[in-house]
Symmetry: C2
């Protein structure tokens, strides 16, 4: 694909694009809820409710109401708030169990073809996450799942949460390349829109079950992205890797 001749690095959204956060969180929430006598709570609903607090928590940092705070901390605060909403007392659950559940985000599984697709893409491009997840989260996830990143980039390195322009622009700067030499790969039209406004190339990959069987959003590209692929193997093929 000629449009990619000058692209030097692919950076990836991770939650939803590389890994299946909903199944991963539900898988670990189920035994946690059972141990605390709350098998009445649906673990997928629990995962959705935890994730729902993600954007508002980052928005506090984006708006400047709060200094940049890494996602592990925001996830933990959101978890405690969520447990209280379900009538569970975090103090009664204890530090070790809370920390362990919070680290379920470090143990999410990639979509089935993702690691093999990334290995192909890595032959031609620098590959790195450009996630709002923090460095330890991304690194532990990659180490466990065998994701072959060349570096761990993203919000913590840029000290800005997507879709703030700084998240994209500082990533290009850190790599020593121009925005046009950097391509964001994401399953979310909004993320790609923000990247394109910063001058990045854009690759849309469909993840039609990120939000479960009844997903209504991001089922297709909403703009003419530079490449549209059904998964990472398809992306590697289209980019000649």
């Amino acid at each position: 694909m000629a449009a990619f001749d000058s692209v030097k690095a692919l950076v990836f959204d991770v939650f939803g694009t590389v890994v299946d956060w909903r199944e991963g969180i539900a898988r670990e929430a189920a035994p946690f809820l059972a141990r605390h006598g709350r098998s009445d709570i649906d673990p997928h609903a629990f995962a959705d409710a935890w994730r729902k607090r993600y954007q508002p928590a980052m928005e506090a940092c984006r708006s400047g109401r709060r200094p940049f705070t890494r996602l592990d901390v925001l996830h933990r605060e959101n978890l405690e708030d969520l447990l209280r909403e379900y009538g569970m007392d975090p103090a009664g659950i204890g530090e070790a169990a809370l920390d362990d559940l919070n680290r379920a985000w470090h143990r999410l599984d990639p979509w089935p073809e993702a690691v093999a697709g990334l290995a192909r893409l890595k032959r031609r491009f620098i590959i790195a996450p450009l996630s709002n997840g923090n460095i330890a989260l991304m690194l532990n996830m990659a180490k466990r799942a065998g994701i072959p990143w060349d570096a761990i980039l993203g919000a913590e390195v840029a000290q800005a949460y997507k879709p703030q322009p700084e998240a994209y622009l500082r990533t290009a700067e850190v790599l020593g390349i121009r925005p046009a030499e950097l391509c964001l790969v994401a399953a979310h039209n909004g993320d790609l829109r923000a990247a394109r406004q910063c001058g990045l190339m854009t690759a849309f990959v469909t993840r039609p079950t990120e939000h479960g069987p009844n997903q209504a959003t991001d089922l297709k590209p909403e703009e003419p992205w530079d490449v549209v692929a059904k998964d990472f193997q398809d992306l590697a093929g289209q980019l000649g890797c």
Copy 2:
């Protein structure tokens, strides 16, 4: 080695410890100097002179006289100063040639056993650079040489140059571990001293020709470091990898 049972990550000094900067810079300086009619300059002396400006340039950032500035920028300023010292005009050489020579730092070769040793160490530990080199420099070097880092950490992520304590302490913090769970691997006693003062574990590896055949410094451990190895294969063996 029981002392390493609780160590989760090994971070590495890079210039001198992982790669042979002196031979790498001399190899690229030789044709550069020849092209500009200065074959009279010994390329190893040129490498030594360029490297000699490294600590003073970082000291400006450490002391607060200057904000944190990534090493690619400092290397470039030092190169231009050095050329002027040799009576060469950087403006006459041109941007492309200067930038290319500056990127010789991105193309340094690892010591012969380093990549294989790192691959063994990676099985048990998180491995990452903790170098004063910036992210793009470390990443491009790793991509070219096949260094299998799990992440690119170091001065640019910590926004502090070794041996400032923040360089070590923020690296542990970013990894989500305690300083005692982090071990610095370095061929330099001074770097290890600073790391130990921050509570890190320490591994000394000898690199007796880093400064050429007449090296007089860092030929042996000056303190009882937690482990002393002759190279990375030896280190992997001692750590049971």
